[in-house]
Symmetry: C2
Subunit: 484 residues, 2 copies
Amino acid sequence: MRHANLVESFQSILPTESVLYETEDLKPYECDGLSAYRQLPMIAVLPGNEAEIIEILKICEAEKIPVVARGAGTGLSGGALPHADGVLLSLAKLNEILEIDPVACTARVQPGVRNLAISEAAEAYGLYYAPDPSSQIACTIGGNVAENSGGVHCLKYGLTVHNILKLRVLTIEGDVLEIGSEALDSPGFDLLALMSGSEGMLGIITEITVKLLPIPEAAQLVMAAFDDIEKAGAAVANIIRAGIVPAGLEMMDKMTIAAVEAFIHAGYDPDAAAIVLCESDGSNEAVAEEIEKIRGIMRESGAVRIDTARGEAERRRFWAGRKAAFPAAGRVSPDYYCMDGTIPRKHLAEVLRRIEDLSSEFGLRCMNVFHAGDGNLHPLILYDANRSGELEKAEAFGARILEICIEAGGSLTGEHGVGIEKLNQMCLQFGDAERDLFHAVKAAFDPDSLLNPGKAIPSLHRCAEFGAMHVHRGDEQFPDLPRF
Amino acid sequence: MRHANLVESFQSILPTESVLYETEDLKPYECDGLSAYRQLPMIAVLPGNEAEIIEILKICEAEKIPVVARGAGTGLSGGALPHADGVLLSLAKLNEILEIDPVACTARVQPGVRNLAISEAAEAYGLYYAPDPSSQIACTIGGNVAENSGGVHCLKYGLTVHNILKLRVLTIEGDVLEIGSEALDSPGFDLLALMSGSEGMLGIITEITVKLLPIPEAAQLVMAAFDDIEKAGAAVANIIRAGIVPAGLEMMDKMTIAAVEAFIHAGYDPDAAAIVLCESDGSNEAVAEEIEKIRGIMRESGAVRIDTARGEAERRRFWAGRKAAFPAAGRVSPDYYCMDGTIPRKHLAEVLRRIEDLSSEFGLRCMNVFHAGDGNLHPLILYDANRSGELEKAEAFGARILEICIEAGGSLTGEHGVGIEKLNQMCLQFGDAERDLFHAVKAAFDPDSLLNPGKAIPSLHRCAEFGAMHVHRGDEQFPDLPRF
């Protein structure tokens, strides 16, 4: 089917303004949050309901045209990068909160609903939706499911997959799947978990039932400063080891503290080598007691300064600093590359030392911010895209960081997904047997590979090429990898 | 390959005593906890290590012989029922705890390790493994993963899938898969969750890395008695709605209380229409505070008696009653059939009324015990297998209960799996599109359907036959189903 015919087909099922094909109309869709990669789609469609999506999918399936789903486009790994010969399927118009059930503590929503909008709507019932990616003002719940998003609170409350109950999903053929249940478990293979984090490669999500939680009575935050980043890492481990599950447990290094303080004056200790933010939420009494315990552990772990937020304003200010870490990086450097690897907590200090060495080796600064409680690192590599070769250096630096995470027994993504960004590292993370299975599972859902092709799972060919330049976990060839 | 040749092949790779083929040797493997169904396998093998399992699988794959994996055989849905023309693969000899990492709070274990043995070994480090099926003294962690087992504590601490980090799995071809990671998330499709609860149909698990939690400082239990089962149900909802996540939240009806009291004198109120057990664990202060809140909610919900356990001995006695509910059923009836459905909590009272009606209709008594917090019902249908037709009536009664759970928006299994027991209800729980996908996912792992064939996913043929006698969610044909 030629381009013009396809436009006509879509126009026959959608309002005219919902079918975009002129370059200037397609421009807003050319990238997601990983803006170093850009590609115009052939056509973009903006359906308003599930029936229209079914018709779109049937056309694409019949004509073997790739389909890339898109929420708000805030993803950081290129998962929503359009396909040059494909259709960009925006789910932005499916933005209704269909039902809030305050007894069952659930909300049934369309995929284009913004993450924060769910909590805003649930607030009237004293409820909220727990996972809170930094982009929660803008990002959509459909995108959250596709990437299995996390956030500051996921240490205590889990990732997206732990906070959803049911999904309504369309197959590439346009069939409706109803998966999951309102119960804790669901029989048969766990398609709900399989769909979570599948990056638009298995089906198109049209409805999501999320869990809502009662808004905690109280929340309180401790900011602890350390003169040594290893002590800060030990404090994190000691808190977890004491059986405390904080509502948030974050860490920032010296360069991040400086950048943040210069930017928004969060009140962090500017002399610290690292600070740890630790939040407790729950009933007034439980929070008061837990905060005392946290302060005690910080003290025993060698903190040089321990501040408990004096009132809600200071608590928000402490958090504002953490949440401003990415824009703060943007102020001290023309460009930055945000990484997302996870490691077992016990290797934190070792991995940080290694990142410092790489920083010298590549001649690029690196700010370190992390969800310390779950070992999820967000190194921010600072570079200047206008200086020849710096982007490439930043990417190579980033790739090395991910490889170190894998070598440390961790994973190449904590919450940002694989997308197109981390395809090469997937060749390191998994062997042939696992990758073969990923492809087999993909084929079980989408035999012609029309749904977001080329993302998340590297082709065997790509891994062979990558392997040729980059020996898989070869100790001899990788003398600079840390031995854990 | 003929039987004798197959025995010889296995004997060439296994010690002689690890290959069983005589009827008397096979007898112990003829059923699991669903003992109404029995079948001798052709051969049973008891490998001692992964290398031996790989050889066994290669032989079975080459000869297209079905393989049924078995842990301790405590499963209640017939998942480990042998295949008449197949090999029963016992994992009992793979029973080593390979490593406990007290810093990362993980244990790496073989599949044949008993659930409770993990907590016993971790106790020296002040740690334990949270999921606690009633059978935890006997059941194995491999079986727990295969069934995604729950237990009293899973309301607070999650099902098995939420408490495992990594799996080592063999495909039917004998390839090794390493899935999951020590981090919170893992890239690629979520094969860890897909494997959990897959009932031995996708691969053979040879190693499991589980999460360990710090043993709580304190645990305390409230026993509340109600003169009306609906009030008890409301109390459960009110506790959840108040943002409390109890370590256990269980409910029993009048008949269960009577049976339990006659059996072990747990100290329950014998006049109550229902009792609710609610446990809090954590630090001393947090538990004391939460117990006060729980007592307050019980009072407001209309409890006629509220006892907080006076000391550890009484706490254990209150729990002993709950844990003895199944054997207590065995004392008041020659046989009982344990069901396992889940429903949204809000429909608890309605579903219980419906079960009572069915009890009259079928002329069989039914005791009701449930993990009330997560809406997981365990109706125990009492019958006498020696009375002609009673088993069939019990099965029909049980099937109706599961159908009501599905109709109420719940699910046909909470934690016991589908096995062979609930294949018909899977035809009601899911439509063709979902079942097609289950088969496609199965084929992606096991193209010749050699791993535990005939379990968990009904064939299209079976559903067509079942549908012919039993119209799918047909309101007209099902006038007796409750409308929610």
